[in-house]
């Protein structure tokens, strides 16, 4: 697999993650020898850039916060400019185990986008209440578009093959929830093959997923809206995949 690693770019969107980003980068290099690691500091105002750089990552420092979508688009552009075939998105907060990445990469032969799913049997990540309903509903709708059973559509652990990198370098949605919901809609409607594999999640080093009812309800509303708009949008130009 070393050959595969050399053609793979790990992209880590990071917003004020100075406490953990260095360790996550070092763990990625230790677990996946040969990969290139790009940390996209999304307008961080702490020492994220220096810590990531000290750990040996290439760091793109966005001048202000663009959200995960904007950070990922920068990552896809970097991959395209530097000739990387695959892009793997990993959260900088350490909740994803890099040891799961080879499983994702192994599936890239037959799929263009591989999602590391949190609820597919491995690990102990749970949510409840409106947030759970939102995720259930999203999974049902997006599974149809993706022509495959997806159980975790909002996972931040994803591997993208060459066709996905070509599509996303120009068309990765930068809006709120665009990196999860709309990106899958674009991929599915553009004919990319989407798969998911189970992935273990670790408890986040900082912060917990929000379960406050009002926040969850707002999340549900915005997710519905993002989903509706994603389906209403015209498809990216057909030439994007040639």
């Amino acid at each position: 697999m070393p050959n595969l690693f050399a053609r793979t770019l790990i992209v880590m969107p990071a917003f004020n993650e100075e406490a953990v980003v260095g360790d996550v980068v070092r763990e990625v290099y230790a677990t996946l020898p040969g990969v290139h690691c790009l940390v996209v500091s999304d307008g961080s105002v702490d020492h994220t850039v220096a810590r990531a750089r000290a750990a040996g990552a290439t760091v793109a420092d966005l001048p202000f916060n663009l959200g995960v979508g904007g950070a990922m688009r920068a990552g896809f552009k970097y991959a395209r400019e530097n000739g990387f075939d695959n892009v793997v998105q990993i959260d900088a907060d350490g909740q994803h185990d890099p040891a799961g990445v080879p499983d994702l990469l192994a599936l890239l032969g037959e799929a263009d986008v591989v999602i590391g799913a949190r609820f597919a049997g491995v690990g102990s990540y749970t949510v409840r209440g409106p947030r759970k309903w939102a995720m259930k509903f999203l999974s049902a709708v997006l599974s149809k578009t993706a022509h495959t059973q997806l159980t975790d559509t909002t996972s931040g652990l994803k591997a993208n093959g060459p066709r996905a990198v070509a599509l996303f370098a120009d068309n990765y949605p930068a809006e709120y929830l665009g990196d999860t919901i709309e990106a899958l809609v674009i991929a599915g409607r553009s004919g990319l093959v989407i798969r998911q594999v189970p992935a273990a999640m670790r408890p986040r080093a900082g912060g917990t997923p929000s379960h406050a009812p009002i926040k969850a309800a707002v999340y549900l509303g915005r997710a519905m809206m993002a989903l509706a708009i994603a389906y209403l949008r015209p498809l990216p130009k057909a030439g994007a995949l040639e």
Partner: protein
């Protein structure tokens, strides 16, 4: 309608048109943004000079109180301008985002070049001693 209110109506419309045209002239307003204000100002001027035209238009559409037509057209115009502004804002945000991404990626390339050639901001200044300037 008194002579005062007649003159006041025309005066307001002329001032509006004058401000818009002056801003256009000084490049403070782009033509595609000015067109709505020119349209509104011209309409106001026509109604100011010929108040009968308003009553005629209202009766044609079937509005009993002519001033309601004025309110309707004014609000419609403002709503359209607001939508146009939202759309412009979205486009500007998109462009800013792309610039931010490109600038961050260029900074990466510059840094790599500087590392490869042994130059860089830290080498020229006497006080930095090649330290990481981002910290």
């Amino acid at each position: 309608m008194t002579v005062t209110s007649y003159i006041f109506g025309i005066f307001t419309a002329v001032i509006t048109l004058g401000v818009v045209i002056e801003m256009l002239r000084r490049n403070r307003l782009r033509e595609r943004h000015a067109v709505w204000w020119l349209f509104g100002g011209a309409l106001g001027l026509v109604i100011g000079i010929f108040p009968g035209s308003l009553e005629w238009a209202a009766s044609v559409i079937g509005i009993e109180v002519p001033t309601n037509l004025v309110f309707f057209v004014s609000i419609a115009l403002l709503v359209l301008v607001c939508i146009q502004h939202s759309s412009e804002l979205t486009r500007l945000e998109d462009k800013t985002r792309i610039l931010a991404e490109e600038s961050a990626l260029l900074a990466v390339r510059v840094r790599e070049l500087e590392t490869a050639t042994g130059t860089g901001p830290g080498r020229l200044g006497p006080h930095l001693d090649g330290q990481d300037t981002t910290e």
